[in-house]
Amino acid sequence: MFSTQKHSGEVSSRDVERALGTPAGSYSPQKLLALISPAAEDYLEKMAQLARQLTLQRFGRTVRLYAPLYLSNYCVNGCAYCGFNKDHQFPRIRLTIDKALAEADIIAKEGFRDLLLVSSEDRQFVSVDYLCELASKLRPKFSSLSVEIYQMTTEEYAKLFAAGIEGVTLYQETYDRETYRKYHHSGPKADYDYRLSAPDSIAHAGMREIGIGVLLGLFDWRLETLALGEHAHYLMKRYWKSRVSFSFPRLRPAKNVDRTQFAFLSDKNLVQMIVALRLCFADAGLVLSTRESAALRDHLIEIGITKVSAGSRTSPGGYSQPRNAVEQFEIDDTRSPAEVAEMIKAHGLEPVWKDWDSAFVKD
């Protein structure tokens, strides 16, 4: 990996200007280092304008919409920052296939065609067979299915792909080994190297979309962004048929989570990270969830974000019985999908509900 010896603090404004002089959307670690440096903060408006221009050119006047469907919050991992941590005591919920389908019906009625299936590490219940069966039943209603679940093997991912699931999102959470160890106390997820190999397995299985990201707030965001850039570049070079997208989960207060032990990231930092990645990766999807506030999301779709969730419930069964269960994190943007779509239109952009067709995958 790229050496971070020359820390971003040593970047000069000349380095930033040089980076901004390179073709928009092209990547080098030196460029990304310059764009995320403190020196680049003075160039944030210019960077945002360039990012907006590039996003407009590559993605058009559109923003994609998706919804998460939480399947289970039973978990075998003890991640210190997560509301679903196995050591937390709260009534856990698993959705049967029928219950999951009922939730999906509510989501579909709101207009969504792009569904993200989410589960904590509950292999016993949310098994590969469960996911394949669910996917086959969801396919008539949704044009795009993806998962954000525990790590699987290439063979398991291939089964999901064959069942009509075309994307996998899986965050390294942090690229810093020591920090990783600190927050992942127990369970299969405690193995840093195994976690790091996940995107390779996902790509080998033929998945079209590979979502990567870090949980912002665990470690120095500048170093995390550099690592993300290198990881994405590696994946893009090696697996040229899969599209890499970045998500920006910023640590949010959650029930049972000690708020004092995290380094929360400022809005300005988040904006700089988003525009820096856009200026290095012209065609990468940039995804933002409802963890962020309505006001911030409204601005960010103007400067590089290409896909947002809306009306999300982050507990299993949350769509049919809102506010009944412990959520993985607290939602900030609580607007309905229709309201978010209206907001997108008000920005002169088209809310895109469907940008895929399950017919690509199978008959």
Partner: protein
Amino acid sequence: MDKLVIAGREFNSRLLVGTGKFASCEIMAEALEKSGAEIVTVALRRVDIENENDDTLRAIDVKKYLLLPNTSGARNAEEAVRLSKLARAATGINWVKLEVTPDPYYLLPDPIETLKAAEILVKDGFIVLPYINADPVLSRRLQDIGTAAVMPLGSPIGSNQGLKTRAALEIIIEQANVPVIVDAGLGLPSHAAEAMEMGADAVLINTAIATANEPGRMATAFKLAVEAGRIAYKAGVAASGRRANASSPLTGFLRDNK
């Protein structure tokens, strides 16, 4: 302007328009109208082809436009063929703009899978318009199979770089027995005019119109540019052709000395 003929069907416009990247269906509909286009391509991944109430589809008047489904997003021949058949079954339209683009970043077409898919689709009765790199030999191979046109790119899709493949396009146009439609990368009306002046039979524009500040006016600009380029081509561009012209005086003495 002379008519464009593809697979025996006549069109008055030589500008084809794509429907992606617009801010709304209303803006798209206005741009289509202003462009004068008669062939409008739609990404099957973006629409519900089986649903006649789909917003995008409803905004395209099929009495006015030939709806040309495209397989954008297909990574291999199998996917492109499956998608084409789905579209035909749903709409009865047997035209397809064949796109096989396994690289999700530059969306460059895969020549091998495109050829494979074209072969299957032509045999199955489709009118196939394949999106290809500006490769003269591939272009001939596709015509041998029976595609109704070839659609070489000017530069990577959405890049607005213009005719970066000019030298290869010239050969394709020179050798073609079917219409040559320059498909991607045309960012300015002048790029479109340039392609038409070279002898391209038509051009396809999407990003440059959809992402302009005023898509409707930009559509008009492209319409005029395409017409100007075509008329110039037919008028005989006083060009720096690669072949000697009759205007050369070098052998005039033979007549003079008669």
